[in-house]
Symmetry: C2
Subunit: 233 residues, 2 copies
Amino acid sequence: MNPAPRAYQIVLQAIEEDLRKEKLSVGDQLPGERALAERHGISRASVRDAIRILDVMGIIRTSTGSGPNSGAVIISNPSAGISQALRLHLAAKGINVREIVESRILLETWAAQMNPRDPVYAQQVIDRTAVLIMRMDDPQLSREAFHRIDAEFHVLLASMAGNSVVESMMESLRNSISDYVSDSVPSDEAWQPVVRVLRRQHKAIHHAFATNQRERAAQLLEEHINWFYSQTR
Amino acid sequence: MNPAPRAYQIVLQAIEEDLRKEKLSVGDQLPGERALAERHGISRASVRDAIRILDVMGIIRTSTGSGPNSGAVIISNPSAGISQALRLHLAAKGINVREIVESRILLETWAAQMNPRDPVYAQQVIDRTAVLIMRMDDPQLSREAFHRIDAEFHVLLASMAGNSVVESMMESLRNSISDYVSDSVPSDEAWQPVVRVLRRQHKAIHHAFATNQRERAAQLLEEHINWFYSQTR
DNA sequence: TCGCATAGTATGGTCTGACCACACCCTGAA
DNA sequence: TTCAGGGTGTGGTCAGACCATACTATGCGA
C-alpha cells in the first residue's frame, strides 16, 4: 500500500497538522530547516522539499538572515498556488483559454449578483474601483500597467461577494493568462482603440455597481470579458 | 529589481517554455535531473526543486528506474495542484468550509445548467453515474468508499459541461474537504440515516439529468449539497 | 550615559559528491 | 528460443560544506 512515502511528506503533514490545530497561524515563524530536519529525523534536503512546496503554494514566505522577520513565515496567499497550477497547465495544454474565460465569466457574474456579505466593504470597493478607473484614464499609462490595474479592478469587484475561494480563483485565472493577454494585441497602434472601449466598459460596469443594478453589472461584465477576448484572437 | 532569482526558476521557466511551444507534451519524458543540471549550469539540488514543483502541481509524475516509463513524465492533472493549495489554505484558516461549499454549489449548478458541449459524452456520463449510484447502494460499503464514489459522481456530472477548469476546481474543492467530511459524522449509527437520504437525493438528481430537466437538476444539487453540510456542523 | 561601528550568529540558498532501491536492458547460458 | 543474471541509468535521500544576508550583541569612543 505505502511502499515509499516521500520523506518531505512527513514534514508537510506535520506542518499541516499544526496549522489545523492553530499551533501555527499567519505571522508565525516556522522552525529552522536544520531544526525540522533533526526533529523528524530526515535530512535538510528533504525538509527543503516541504518548505519549497509551502512556498509556491503561498503558505509561507522565506527569506535569509536572522531575526523575527527572517526564515519561513506563515502568510496566506491562496491565489499564488492556484495561479501557478493554472499557469503551468495552460502551458501544458491541459486547459485552454476558452475554458479560463468561461470560468472567469462564471465567477465574476456570480460575484456581481451576490448580495455583499459586508455592505460597508462593498461601498469601499466601489470607491476604490472609482480610483482605479481614473488611473486607467491616464494616457501615459503603459500597457503592462493598464493590465495590472485592470486585473485589480476585476478582482476587487469579485471580492465584494466575500468568498475568498472565488476571489482567489478569479485572481488566479487572471494571472494565469496575463502573458497571453500581453502578447495578444500585437502593436500599440491596434491597442489604442481597444483601450478606449475598455475604459468605457469599465465605467459602465462601475456605474451599474454604484447604483446597485447588480443584474445589469453582471451582464455588462460578461459582455466586457467576451468582447475583450474576441479582440485577442 | 531582480536581486536574487531563484535557481530553480531557470529550469521551471525553460520547461514551461517547452510546454508552451509543444516541444514537450503529455507522455513525454523530461531529461534526467543530472542532464538538466548540466544544461542550465546549476546543481542537481536546484533542478530537483523545479521537478518537485512540477510534481505537486500535477504536471509530471516521477518514478525511479530506467526505461520509457521511468523518470519524470509529463502528465496532466490540473486538480492535483489546486487541491493541494486549497487543502493547505483550508488548514491555515485562509479559507473556510462555508466558502468552499458556496463555491461548489456555484460550479456544480452552473455545470448542470450548461448545455453539454458533447451530447455523446453527456449520455456516457449519465450511464456511468447510474452505475455509481448502484455501487453506492451496497450496504457493505465503507464510509470512505462511499465518499470516494460520491465524489466521483459529482465530478463526473460537472464534467459534462466540458470545461476542465471548472472540473478541476470541482474536484479540488471536493478533495480539499475530504478529511473534514470524514470527520464530520461522528458515529456509524448517525451515519446510517444520512446515507439513506444521500442515496435518495443522488437518484433524484440523476433522474433529472436523464430526463434533461437541467434547471431541476441544478436545484436538487444545491439542496443536496446544502443539506449534507447542514448535517456536518 | 549615549551613539554607533563592528563582530557574532542564525537564517535560507546553493553546491558537491555520495549511496540506495528500483526498473528496464542486454547478454549469454541452457 | 527462453530466461536468468548482471549492467546501467533513474529518481530519492543523505551528509557536509560554503555563501550572502539580516538581525543581535558587544564594546569602543564621545
